[in-house]
Assembly symmetry: C2
Amino acid sequence: MSQIDYFTEECSVEAVNTRMGETINPRLREVMASLITHLHGFVKEVELTQEEWEFAIDFLTRTGQTCDDKRQEFILLSDTLGVSMLVDAIQHRRPEGATENTVFGPFHVDGAPELEMGANISLDGKGEQCLYEGRVLDLDGNPIEGVRIDVWSDNSEGFYDVQQPDEQPVWNNRGVFITGPDGRYWFTGIKPVSYPIPDDGPVGQMLRHLGRHPWRPAHMHFLLDHPDYERIVTHTFVAGDTYLTSDTVFGVKESLILDYAANPDVKTGWQAHFDFVMNPHEQ
Amino acid sequence: MSQIDYFTEECSVEAVNTRMGETINPRLREVMASLITHLHGFVKEVELTQEEWEFAIDFLTRTGQTCDDKRQEFILLSDTLGVSMLVDAIQHRRPEGATENTVFGPFHVDGAPELEMGANISLDGKGEQCLYEGRVLDLDGNPIEGVRIDVWSDNSEGFYDVQQPDEQPVWNNRGVFITGPDGRYWFTGIKPVSYPIPDDGPVGQMLRHLGRHPWRPAHMHFLLDHPDYERIVTHTFVAGDTYLTSDTVFGVKESLILDYAANPDVKTGWQAHFDFVMNPHEQ
């Protein structure tokens, strides 16, 4: 398409898109052309006013300026608008039966200690004890040996250790386990609790104006790696949690909700059974 | 529509939009629902990858963090993606014959001195002198008295006075003129020069990757106000400028390009004739 010389409301998309150089990266061209089409489509559909545009400029500026080493407000924005989950869903379409992904979240830390199977990852002694156990299987139901399972959760007050470096022991509620030939895993942690995402910034203001809350339902994070299989980044959720159908980051999938049962071997404890099913890398 | 309990790729838009509260501002609901539809539509159309998403998060963060008192990188982004001109076009649809708007730009300053008709606004003595003259008319061709015309341009080196507070006289190339009963205006300025928008930030990087330049064609800014007529925010452009058909902010409209003719009354000067036509406020 030849370049449009002068911008008009009618040909706004073509005016911008035909301005791109001829020798640029083809994927960049594809992504930008689609972005401009949808962005202009939005502005035209709602007939965005000057005041709304000014608010949007200010909102985006404040969102950027809320970011620092420990806070990523644009990721929160992406999460709360369902964009993070959408990208994850598109990139991780899996066959029926394979464990589904969900959001990675901002609280993973590389380098958690590798522990013996059965270890207790709750180092602060708080919360309701829970035995996590199950197997890692392939799509045919065979156990997978040598799967690296990295787990992490909040403590009983709803905070990850990295959020409270002065109050929680290092590596509290974190650990890495490697499966043996039977594909089994088991460890003790706590029954996690629901918690709000940081809502004292622009995203929190947005949620309030949208009539939404900032809460995530309780969950345990799992990251599974094995050379022959596709990485799994997921959580398991606690059945019955108040926020299961209103997770502010849209992370819940029905297949990831599990019953926490009373553990008969522990006085006041729980047990949570979940089998993971890994999808092989494409051949 | 009832709330979607669990997010899926297929129902991602509905999952987010049905989460909005029932009693929120109806215009906010309309704008956000359209935004989510188009934003998810974009992600799905290009099947955005995790790496591209991470780049986008980082780009938006850097754009926000480039903003300060004197620099608004998100407005530059909006300008260079044609969004600013699109909002302006939608909000200022005018009848045939009325003067068209274009972008306001970041360099207007309130409080420029009101000058006698014919004054010279170029206070630094640099550049090629130009007589600007014409009339302000209504749609029937009748002159309008009492129109406040606020004008501003860069100097001959491509900088506005506020960009060089230590090098240019205060109010250099700025002034306000009020039309008399004949609707006429005339003043002396310079023939403006083309200049690049600030391109040392994320927007400049984007333009380079898109194979675009950061230049705006030479223009004189006009802001016309009268109680009975719709405000005009516009520029006039210099015919023959290299960048007329590639203005990096898409501000050029064909009706705003004018020939600068040699002024027979001045040895090395120009004259630029332009009649403005104002649209009455809706009754």
